[in-house]
């Protein structure tokens, strides 16, 4: 298909449709309303269903039902709405259901504000909800990548039978950029038929029970270990990242993701012109985190700079990536304020000049 100028939210909606997702359940929340709005008229066109749920709690449980019935299904929301889905997402993970959840992050905590943020990093990558489970989390930095990753998300979800989250910030939701959808797109994984789905029991397979309850602790322990193995596989096979700039000879290596990484790239290009060599590792999967890539690039750079729209949640993963203590610097904007290329440039110069303070750690 030809390139189209699309709003991120619409591109995300269309990507779902292109990926064969014909079911969307969601509840309005800024800054991602255009996703449900777009799909409310798009889904009927493809014979699918759009339901405005009564809440995010209901949305995620509708996903649980639809995914359990073997269909591709998506919801989208923004930070407070994602928090309301916590229990339901844990259920999806426990019952091994492939669902795709889009979080267009806004500033928190609480009602916070509606402007861009990355303060849901921990929530996305670590403790979103109770129990031992993980979300595969993809973080696009452009509208085209958002469209691509949403499509990949469905394949990954189906392959691993696990919830996959696509996280962007308000810019990804609101921005327009050219997008291209490929007509001959093939799944990125070989996908077996969903024989586990509850589609009416015709006695041609075991009874399908979509369930996360295991009253026998020994059985639940086996289930937990089974899930863990799956997560180990994802950590082995699904890490995605991109590197930029002088990866082999950088004065400073920046770790940043999402639209913040674009801002950093602008800064890197400007710094290059001034002869300052900066590299960047951009995690595309927030979980599994590209520990190895960060370690390798960082090992060749003098200093490390983490740039984030949070108080430094990703620093922990960066620190875990490094096998020896290294100076880590940090720049952030919070509450919906955005990082500018100029700020990054200044920070890098400060690091080089030795006037930037390292992040302290207990």
């Amino acid at each position: 298909m030809a390139k189209k100028l699309m709003k991120g939210a619409e591109a995300i909606g269309e990507a779902a449709v292109q990926a064969g997702c014909h079911l969307f359940f969601g509840y309005p929340i800024t800054p991602q309303n255009e996703i449900p709005e777009y799909l409310s008229s798009r889904m009927p066109q493809v014979g699918g269903a759009f339901v405005q749920a009564e809440s995010e709690v209901a949305s995620i449980n509708m996903l649980y039902g639809a995914a359990g019935a073997g269909e591709r299904v998506m919801t989208s929301s923004s930070s407070p709405g994602i928090s309301l889905m916590a229990e339901g997402i844990s259920y999806c993970a426990g019952a091994e259901l492939p669902v795709v959840i889009v979080n267009i992050m806004r500033a928190g905590p609480g009602l916070g504000g509606i402007l861009p943020s990355q303060a849901d990093y921990f929530q996305t990558t670590k403790g979103m909800a109770h129990g031992d489970f993980r979300l595969l989390a993809l973080a696009p930095w452009s509208i085209q990548e958002a469209a691509d990753l949403v499509q990949d998300a469905f394949d990954l979800a189906d392959y691993y039978r696990n919830p996959v989250m696509v996280v962007g910030d308000g810019l990804i939701g609101q921005m327009m950029e050219p997008v291209e959808f490929y007509e001959d797109r093939q799944p990125i994984k070989e996908l077996p038929p969903k024989t586990w789905a509850s589609t009416g029991w015709k006695r041609d397979r075991p009874k399908a029970i979509i369930n996360s309850l295991f009253l026998d602790p020994a059985e639940l322990e086996r289930h937990n270990f089974h899930l863990k193995e799956k997560y180990d596989l994802m950590e082995r096979d699904e890490v995605r990242f991109a590197t930029y700039g002088a990866v082999d000879s950088a004065d400073v290596v920046i770790i940043a993701y999402g639209t913040v990484a674009r801002v950093c790239l602008s800064a890197i290009e400007a710094l290059e012109q001034e002869g300052i060599k900066v590299a960047m590792v951009r995690p595309i999967t927030l979980w599994p985190f590209p520990y190895k890539a960060v370690r390798e690039v960082a090992s060749k750079a003098k200093d490390i700079l983490v740039v984030e729209l949070s108080t430094g949640q990703m620093i922990e993963d960066v620190r875990l990536a490094l096998h020896r203590p290294r100076p880590i610097h940090f720049h952030c904007r919070l509450g919906g304020m955005l990082v500018s290329p100029e700020e990054v440039i200044d920070k890098v110069k400060a690091i080089k000049a030795g006037t930037s303070e390292e992040v302290q750690h207990a």
């Binding site: 009564e54 649980y64 399908a208 029970i209 309850l213």
Partner: protein, 257 residues
């Protein structure tokens, strides 16, 4: 040759349930299974189990099942039905599940007119968690979180779900039945049959509230429980059909403008 006139329905697995002796969850399971058999929809039926004593319903019904989060069975059922409108979808929920934590989900599922069937088992208590007060617990009834009996001045009166739901304008079949006696069970089955039939005909959402006993947490024998249900619950929870899809509006009118 003897003819078997009362046997285990096909849709009911041949296993013993974990329910306490005399718990009428078992009766209601059988009635639902019989209706599924009679309508011949077993191989396209998907059930949704709640969190509550009937959480293991998936072990007892011989059809595909989802185990839903506490209170969210109507949302799960919505997801299944919208994904696969050809399936017959029912949720089976307790009173804590449906009338407390799941109030928003049941009201909205009913109001959207999702073409599913809800079997709502009202035993006036939280059975599974050991006898806490439910929204449906009777005035004066003792529960572990109202050890002096439900005080309506502090926590209000029991919620009548059939009445509440039947005020919604969206066409639906809403009825209340009971399971405390064989004749009540016969009537309950009739209500369930209508409820499933309306779904199969793609007409409307249907909900049958079935009064049920919880001898264990009521602290009564099964026989005493039957009696208590009849004396205490029936007057407050009248049996009957509240709403049919072609009936008129059941919302009360304002008394004065």
């Amino acid at each position: 040759m003897p003819e078997a006139v009362f046997v285990r329905p096909d849709s009911l697995s041949d296993v013993s349930t974990h329910y306490c002796p005399g718990c009428t969850h078992g009766i209601i399971h059988r009635l639902v299974a019989e209706v599924i058999d009679e309508l011949g929809i077993r191989d396209r039926t998907v059930g949704v189990a709640p969190v509550g004593c009937s959480v293991l319903a998936y072990n007892y019904f011989d059809c595909d099942f989802h185990e839903a989060a506490h209170g969210r069975a109507p949302a799960v059922a919505t997801g299944i039905k919208r994904a696969r409108p050809d399936l017959a979808v029912f949720s089976y929920q307790g009173d804590g599940d449906l009338a407390s934590i799941g109030m928003a989900e049941i009201v909205h599922c009913a109001n959207r007119g999702e073409k599913i069937t809800v079997v709502f088992v009202n035993n006036a208590i939280y059975g599974m968690t050991g006898g806490q007060m439910a929204p449906t617990t009777m005035p004066g009834q003792v529960a572990t979180t109202c050890q002096m009996g439900r005080d309506v001045d502090l926590v209000g009166h029991p919620i009548r779900v059939a009445e509440l739901i039947s005020t919604l304008r969206t066409p639906a079949f809403i009825a209340r039945a009971s399971s405390h006696s064989p004749l009540a069970a016969v009537n309950a089955k009739e209500m369930l049959r209508r409820a499933f039939t309306y779904q199969v005909e793609e007409r409307c959402f249907s909900l049958v509230e079935v009064l049920s006993t919880c001898p264990t947490n009521w602290g009564l024998t099964p026989a005493e429980s039957t009696e208590w249900l009849e004396k205490t619950m029936l007057p407050y929870y009248p049996l009957g059909v509240f709403k049919t899809p072609d009936g008129d509006d059941r919302a009360p009118l304002p008394r004065k403008p």
